[in-house]
Symmetry: C2
Subunit: 590 residues, 2 copies
Amino acid sequence: MDTMGTLRRTHYCGEPAESDIGHEIVVCGFTQKIRDMGNLVFIDLRDRSGIIQLAFDDGTAAALLEKAKTVRSEYVLMAKGTVRRRESVNKELKTGMVELYVTELRILSKAQTPPFEITDQSKVNEELRLKYRYLDLRRPGLQQNLILRHKIAKVARDYYFENGFLEIETPMMIKSTPEGARDYLVPSRIHNGKFYALPQSPQIYKQLLMISGYDRYFQIARCFRDEDLRADRQPEFTQIDLEMSFVDMEDILKINEGFVQRLFKEVLDVNIPLPLPRLTYKEAMERYGSDKPDTRFGMEITDLSAIVKDTEFTVFKNAVAEGGSVRAIAAKGGAAKLSRKEIDKLTEQVKGIGAKGLAYIRWVEDAPNCSFAKFISEQELADILKALGCEKGDVALIVADKNRVVLPVLGQLRLTVAKLLEIERTGYNFLWITEFPFFEWDEESGTWAAMHHPFTMPMDECLPYLESDPGSVRAKAYDLVLNGIELSSGSIRITDFELQQKMFTLLGLTKEEIEVKFGFLVDAYRYAAPPHGGAGIGLDRLAMQMCGAESLRDVLAFPKVQNCSELMSACPSEVDEKQLAELGISLIKK
Amino acid sequence: MDTMGTLRRTHYCGEPAESDIGHEIVVCGFTQKIRDMGNLVFIDLRDRSGIIQLAFDDGTAAALLEKAKTVRSEYVLMAKGTVRRRESVNKELKTGMVELYVTELRILSKAQTPPFEITDQSKVNEELRLKYRYLDLRRPGLQQNLILRHKIAKVARDYYFENGFLEIETPMMIKSTPEGARDYLVPSRIHNGKFYALPQSPQIYKQLLMISGYDRYFQIARCFRDEDLRADRQPEFTQIDLEMSFVDMEDILKINEGFVQRLFKEVLDVNIPLPLPRLTYKEAMERYGSDKPDTRFGMEITDLSAIVKDTEFTVFKNAVAEGGSVRAIAAKGGAAKLSRKEIDKLTEQVKGIGAKGLAYIRWVEDAPNCSFAKFISEQELADILKALGCEKGDVALIVADKNRVVLPVLGQLRLTVAKLLEIERTGYNFLWITEFPFFEWDEESGTWAAMHHPFTMPMDECLPYLESDPGSVRAKAYDLVLNGIELSSGSIRITDFELQQKMFTLLGLTKEEIEVKFGFLVDAYRYAAPPHGGAGIGLDRLAMQMCGAESLRDVLAFPKVQNCSELMSACPSEVDEKQLAELGISLIKK
């Protein structure tokens, strides 16, 4: 094999253009493909920037032509030559107008035949691709995703630093707390029987940094959650994490909106108009049945309670009478695709998520076919159709129950129906959700729990009702939603030691529990804290949205699969008994 | 307590200048101190940028003056007022020409009396300060260190990104390997009995990224090593990590030198001339007895072997005859401080690190006092003094042994003596160390071990001697040294699969061991790899040097102490039996 010697790259493969014609350049990269046509040889040479065609022809020295013929897929080459106009322009390539007429070729490394072809079109199964991740990572699509991810992080730092944020590293081996999701633990060798935890987020530390006067904190932080298996989650994920002092909610929304606008302009050249739309939690639930609605399409929820409250149909009447409601979505033009059979499937689906059933009106023929026709009057049916704006060709799907069932069920149904009807969803619909309830009633334990986290500041106007009407207390918490995905979550924190104690009491925590769960953080607030708040923005999800990727695995260099293992290195793995003994632990025999 | 309402900061405390006189501004921050002189009140308000004096006087509304009098140390305030010239200029403060004549004061948060005064002069013990780290972090000195650290990371990203590097995140939960230092382990809940490891560095992943064609990789990466206790080490530390393709050693040194120059100029306004000086490993050892010499002072090692090889003094003669050497350092003007007693202490010290003894010549009186006078001739003594350039007032310290004892012992001695003599060491002396030996003979196992790591490329001219003379093989490895501290370490990697196998064989590894230790990484090289190499730069040490800090704890927000515990949160800590059971582990009862 050859060495580079003193030869050095002058251009990336994707760079040569018509303006380079006649110039001598040096490129290097991986062999995408080779076409040997006897006295003509073409090699497509690939690097992270693109592909250039290397050309050898009857003018090429015989030894060089012979050498070119020995090249195989994925060989690493360095080539010097002159840029010339291509005979047949390749419009698929950035460099398609030109080619490199090679005068010197160095084969720097030879490759075995790879287990699969390295193209974005390769249909090989993902498991094999993950096992050979280092080869899959050669795919231009994946490379562009990771380059885009790099740009996101760069714009984030540029933007927040320009706005006075300091990047401060917080520890990765921290104290385990019984709060929140499950911690990953790290046994201590020096302190046998004790453990560190990997951070679920830098939450505690960024609040402390505000107490310490750092004013504006930023970090792109790795976070860890040992959660039960769910589709498209990674045990470690990355958060653009920030916190700022001497601000209220509006200040934080404004600075983060500015980031969104700058990011999309710089990276995708997409204009995001500001201010971003907002919905309160209540509005979002009532209109979309979700606190992270996809607003790229309508199909909003309509409340039919007023129309049906006195109907003979007891399912509807009772739901309203018992404080619940009857609500519906209208699938415009959905009658053809939403056959009876399809609606039966939807019924099963909604039953699976807590509904008792699904009523419907399907209007295919001249008259609407209504699943509860015999129980309601013609006038009521007409009123329902009118309220929903339903016409021939449409389907109405109706749920009656308590609100906490009706709304999320219709929210889910809305997404399922949009998918079934293939409703076009394009663009980037950002949305702030504000005024989250502070408390969430936990049926199981019969106590109030904090919906965001217990350090979240209640809204000023709710402070008088903390004890008298906890259910009505809204928080200075805000989520940023993009196309139905929760991108960011944040809040203003409680900085008043006394108020914090009161909130803990309302959450049913004893002094001991407060001490165990939040000990030093709560104490820190005794020494004064500026008003502060912050947010965490999910970098992986953001990258996924901006890349148009289908999975988090497509925006991470070395992802784990659903059971949290990593296929390339076969991790996690067994370790020596000796190592465990040093850590003071042993395996439980099953 | 007050709220901010709609009032917002217009200036940081360190900003108001004479040009602001007459302007109305708003500042906020922490109360450094309050001086109540009856009808005059002054408050020093502090934020991360500096301190501004808030002034209240007989023109101040009575209620406002009374309010100002209630302020205590560390209260968080927001103040609106007019900038005016100070009566008595404070030259200690950036803002010392002006003060803020307050018209509106908001007390945003009250503080308990802190357990220690928050100033850089505070002499309270470090343990207490670490327990209340959130208060200690309010100290301006510590704040400036973390701001400087932020700047280092920012310049690093700016520089390397401008040079085409991509920041790519590598996983933190990886496969444990038996190579290198001890891994921190993370038990798996889903795969009981198996473990992840926290990365000691992203080494494997960055090499894979080169194989995958990412061309130039950069990351500021957290690394973890469960090492035995040593002074000033942290179990987690941060590395500026990079790797680049289609380069040889010179290219990497050049790009990293460029970073050093840019960094010191931008952050400290210090000019570092390029190219940086270089020494080969051999030169560094022979001249300074160290592969990370502090070159801010001379006191180089002199080889006396030629002079003493035929002396009657058998200690010297035999050392030379047995292939070792007799070498010395000269402590110019050291005779006064290096008393006999002091030299005895030095003798004990060198015995502690492997020397058999320490010979000396101490020249205080008219004639030199030589510890081995009776064994050598006058001529020999004169020759020794001449070789060392010793005169009256100087001390020569001489060690005779094998070279691998003589050199490091004198290297250590040189540093100790420099400290004793309080030799001035200022400035920033950078130095590349190159041509490290590839192999290191491991006496214990009687095998060759890799000095850097087994993926390091031997120098081209050494390839013919791999088998015949392993001891002479030098590697394309390079360390960057600053003032005697190893800042960075790196190498060109072996990209030839066959050569890699040969090196493994020379290192005595069996096929099985290769598979267990390096399995998928070695396999990856079968599919071709561009020539590549890289380096890791210790961010913590770099920050420590640039801050002039005495300890890593002064450049980290939340450091751990020597036994790897963190005093603020009392971490590591015990966890629930239930958690352990889920992980399939139990504690070994002692």
